[in-house]
Every structure is written in structure tokens, then in C-alpha cells.
């Protein structure tokens, strides 16, 4: 794990400085800084291979960066992580509520006994994410969107200060994706949890984002959406002309070259 920063800053839940990662000798991230204030939603935006998941794994503390350091909450209870998807046998004897329960005591040793006192917290987490109706179903039998809600309940049940979500919108239809965005917004309002979320497209997330880190070519453009989501900043990051288009009260980022009116 990277060395913790000597001084803790109470104004940020997570602070990363000078993160550089090489995978197989190839630089994936180069000198990336990121601050996550309490209760903020921070988007890590970039194409496949831009280093979003790599950065997320560094922030999570399960990938050691080549250089740089991360100041983060205690991993066991302080950080909740939601993977993009899980591959579980449909017959696997784990119910949705068992998965959420593991968010409280999964790192402990021994056969789980005396879990009745944890039930309330599990039910609360399932209710918060709207997963009560499939709480007793086998996780392997649920749809991708349902599994994601269960994993989100697993992540928040320990009342973490920070949530990290890997591509939560990637495989959802537009309506479900909007529901997840609304849910994330509710969660941070209710509990003050800070949320870092990766996505390859910013459009759906932008209304709730406080900060954004645009990743391309190993570098990051970090700041408020107003500071980053601009033609000049994104063009400099991608090293090619980029356009930010406002339409139907939404914001779209497109590459500007090669698409011209006849």
C-alpha cells in the first residue's frame, strides 16, 4: 500500500498526490492529483483503457502506485467499494441479505454466529437502495441492476465515509441508469458519504457531480465541472479538438474532427 500522508486534512475524505502507475512497463497514470471533500460526488471520466479502474484500485488501496501517496479512511469500515459486476453461479448459496451482512463482518474469522443484532443495519441498507423485495433471493439469480443495488447496500452498510463505484452505469438501460444517479445523490445527502464514481460518459452524471477528473493518455484534468468540461481544457487533455455541446438541458462531450456538414 502507498505510504499514508503525514498530515491528515479534515477537509478531505480522500487525497491523492502525484499518482503514477505502470502496468507491464506501460505508463497508465502519470502524476494524477485528486481531492474528495466530504459529501461530494466525484466523477472519474474517460474511455476504456484511460486508467479509471486503475486509479480506483489505487484509491481503494488494493493497487500500489509506482509513485505518489494516498490519504484515505480506514479500509475495513471506512471505504465501501462497488465492483462493476460480479460473476456468481446462479445456485451459489448467498442471498442478497447475506452479501450485505458480509459488509459488516466479512473480514472476520470463523463461522458466522450471533448475527441477529446486525439484522437491523442490513435491513436499513437494503431499504436505502430499494432492494428489499429481492433481499431473500440468491444473488447469482438477480439481474445486473439488482446485483448492483445489493452490492451498493453491501458497501454502505458499514456506514463508510467514502464510496467507490466502478462503472455503475455501464450496463444499465437509460431509465435504470438515471435511477442509480438519483440514488447516489440521495445517499450523499442523507449520510454525507463522499462518492467517487467512474464512467466513460459524463452526461448522465453531470447534474450531481461536484468535481470531475477527466482521464486521457495517462493524464488527468481535475476540477469542478465548470473548470474542466470546456472545449479548451478537454482539447488540451485529448490533444485533439473537443466540443462540449449543451442540448435538451444536458451536456455532451464529442470529438470535433471528422464530423462536418456536407
Amino acid at each position: 500500500m502507498s505510504e499514508p500522508s503525514p498530515r491528515r486534512d479534515p477537509d478531505v475524505v480522500l487525497r491523492a498526490r502525484g499518482i503514477a502507475v505502470r502496468l507491464g512497463g506501460v505508463p497508465v497514470l502519470d502524476d494524477v492529483d485528486l481531492d474528495v471533500p466530504p459529501g461530494a460526488i466525484v466523477g472519474l471520466i474517460g474511455a476504456n483503457g484511460a486508467g479509471k479502474t486503475t486509479l480506483l484500485r489505487v484509491l481503494l488501496g488494493i493497487l500500489r502506485p509506482h509513485s505518489g501517496r494516498v490519504q484515505r479512511p480506514d479500509r475495513r469500515a471506512g471505504i465501501g467499494y462497488v465492483p462493476q459486476k460480479i460473476a456468481l453461479d446462479p445456485h451459489a448459496p448467498l442471498r442478497a441479505r447475506d452479501v450485505v451482512m458480509l459488509g459488516l463482518d466479512g473480514a472476520r474469522l470463523g463461522i458466522p454466529l450471533g448475527r441477529a443484532r446486525l439484522r437491523g443495519a442490513v435491513d436499513d441498507a437494503l431499504t436505502q437502495v430499494g432492494a428489499t423485495e429481492f433481499a431473500d433471493a440468491r444473488v447469482g439469480e438477480l439481474s445486473g441492476g439488482q446485483q448492483q443495488r445489493v452490492l451498493l447496500a453491501h458497501a454502505i452498510v458499514s456506514r463508510p465515509a467514502l464510496l467507490l463505484l466502478d462503472e455503475p452505469l455501464a450496463s444499465l438501460d437509460p431509465v435504470s441508469a438515471r435511477d442509480v444517479v438519483v440514488l447516489l445523490d440521495e445517499l450523499r445527502r442523507q449520510s454525507g458519504v463522499a462518492i467517487v464514481v467512474t464512467a466513460h460518459d459524463l452526461t448522465l452524471l453531470l447534474p450531481v457531480l461536484d468535481r470531475v477528473a477527466y482521464l486521457a493518455g495517462g493524464r488527468a484534468a481535475v476540477g469542478t465541472p465548470a473548470e474542466v468540461v470546456r472545449d479548451d481544457v478537454l482539447s488540451a487533455l485529448y490533444r485533439r479538438p473537443m466540443r462540449v455541446i449543451e442540448a435538451a438541458e444536458r451536456t455532451f462531450v464529442v470529438a470535433d474532427e471528422g464530423v462536418t456538414d456536407a
Binding site: 467499494y81 442471498r95 452479501v99 473480514a107 438477480l142
Partner: protein
């Protein structure tokens, strides 16, 4: 006839060892099926057979050969990465094929040099009815060690099965979790190999677990149900093998066959019951 069955010292040893081994196989099997590691179970049986057959040449009990080869293979497989092994069909097939080849060589040498004419039957099809009673305490201790490993890493493995990064994020030492599980799996498979043979050992691992998973969504219940199912199957297998002696005038059905037949028939029966009741895949959400 039942009194003769239970009065036989051979049967008593077989029932004690068989029940202990069955319970361990059932419980470890539930985790194995859940983790999608049946493949690793087969691999460990193949590689364990190298040790089991080699043991005759060294003049030690095949139990030690099975266990040593199994545990060494488990640690090596974890070091290479079981997920990666599954993705490399060809290389994996060559290595395990070589293992079986080595077993064939050792078994031939056992007969030629060691004079152990029953080595092949013993290694490939088990020795439940010909066990040295002095090994019984050792087998029980190994079984208890296996169960203790599973009990200790129960929740670690549950989380790690769900997602490795997720487990790591919760502070689970995932490397330890998966290595310890693979060692428990190796021990369960080798004890099963000793009883019903290297070729059939995974039947006792996968069959009862797969049957139990049809009927429950809970991990603890599934483990208990699989253990009980396996114990009954081994008991029934021993009984049928014992009484079949009378059916064929002095040559009984091999006990490994009757046990595996019980495992197979139970699973087919359970599937049929589930199909009739629409029970196997209870609809998660309407």
C-alpha cells in the same frame, strides 16, 4: 444380514472413515461448487494420484503420498493462479495428462518392483474396505484439520467468492483466503481418493454439494445438508457393496462403484423432484 454388516470389523472401519471423509467432502464441496472450482478439484485428484502411486515405491502408506502431493499441488496451483490455469486449457491439459502418465508409470513399477499387485486398484478406485486400522486416527485428524480451515476462513472465502477486489477492499487477505481454501480442497479430495479412489473422488466432492444447493439458498444449511447427504450415500454404498456379495456368489460390487452410484442416483432424483416442483430456480422477483 444387517447384524452381520455392522459386526464386521472391516465394515466398521469403512463406515467410520467413510462418514468422516463424506462429511468433509460435502462441506468443502459446497464451497467448491459455489466458487466454480470443480476443475481445481479434478486437477488435485489427478496430481494427488502421482503421490498415492509413488508412495508404494517408497514403502509408505498411500495416504501420505496422496496428502503430500495434494497439498504441494494446491500451493503450486495457487502460486500460478487457478483462474489463469482455467484460461489455459492446453498447457493445463498437458500438465495434468503428464500427471496421469506418471501415475501409470508408478503403478506399473509398484507391481514390478514393489510387488504391490493391488496398487492400481487401490490408488485409482480406493481402499475403503481394505484400510489399515492404524490409519483411522490419522484420517480423523486430517479431516478435523480440513474442517477447521474451512470454519476459520468461512467469511473470507464467501467474500472472496463474490469478488476478489471487494474482499480485498474489506481488508480480507485474499491470497491467504484462496490458498487456505485450496489446501482444504486438496485435503478433502485426497481423503476421498484414499476411500473411493483418485478417479472417483470428485464425485463425492461435487455430487452431494450440487444436490444440497438445489434445496437451499443458505450457505450453512447447504454445507450441513451436503455433509448429511454424503454420509448417507457412503453408508448406503457400503451396505450395497456388502450385501452384493451374496447376489453374485462371492464377488461383490466394488464399494467405490456403489457409493458413486448412490451419489449419481441421488442427484438425478433431486433434479427430478425439483423439476416436478419447479423448485430448482425459485423466481427471484416477479
Amino acid at each position: 444380514m444387517l447384524s452381520a454388516f455392522f459386526a464386521s470389523p472391516t465394515v466398521q472401519t469403512a463406515l467410520v472413515v467413510g462418514s468422516v471423509v463424506a462429511a468433509v467432502s460435502g462441506i468443502v464441496g459446497v464451497f467448491t461448487v459455489t466458487r466454480g472450482q470443480s476443475f481445481a478439484g479434478h486437477a488435485l485428484a489427478d496430481l494427488g494420484a502421482v503421490g498415492g502411486s509413488g508412495a508404494f515405491l517408497l514403502g509408505i502408506s498411500q495416504l501420505w503420498g496422496f496428502v503430500l502431493a495434494g497439498v504441494v499441488s494446491a500451493v503450486a496451483m495457487e502460486a500460478i493462479g487457478t483462474r489463469r490455469l482455467e484460461g489455459r486449457d492446453v498447457a493445463t491439459g498437458v500438465v495434468f495428462g503428464a500427471g496421469m502418465g506418471l501415475t501409470a508409470l508408478f503403478l506399473t513399477l509398484d507391481t514390478l518392483i514393489g510387488g504391490s499387485s493391488n496398487a492400481a486398484i487401490s490408488v485409482l478406485f480406493g481402499s475403503l474396505f481394505s484400510l489399515d486400522t492404524r490409519l483411522v486416527p490419522v484420517i480423523v485428524v486430517l479431516a478435523l484439520v480440513t474442517l477447521m480451515i474451512v470454519a476459520v476462513i468461512w467469511r473470507w472465502v464467501s467474500l472472496e467468492t463474490l469478488d476478489r477486489d471487494l474482499a480485498a477492499a474489506r481488508g480480507v487477505p485474499t491470497r491467504w483466503a484462496s490458498t487456505l481454501f485450496l489446501i482444504a480442497l486438496a485435503l478433502a479430495v485426497q481423503l476421498s481418493s484414499l476411500s473411493i479412489g483418485a478417479i472417483l473422488s470428485t464425485a463425492l466432492l461435487i455430487g452431494p454439494a450440487a444436490t444440497a444447493l438445489l434445496f437451499t439458498r443458505r450457505l450453512g444449511t447447504a454445507a450441513a445438508l451436503a455433509a448429511m447427504t454424503a454420509v448417507v450415500q457412503v453408508g448406503v454404498g457400503c451396505l450395497v457393496s456388502f450385501v452384493s456379495y451374496d447376489w453374485f456368489g462371492g464377488s461383490s460390487w466394488p464399494v467405490s462403484f456403489t457409493i458413486v452410484a448412490a451419489v449419481f442416483l441421488t442427484y438425478v432424483g433431486a433434479r427430478a423432484v425439483c423439476a416436478l416442483r419447479g423448485f430448482a430456480h425459485p423466481t427471484a422477483v416477479a
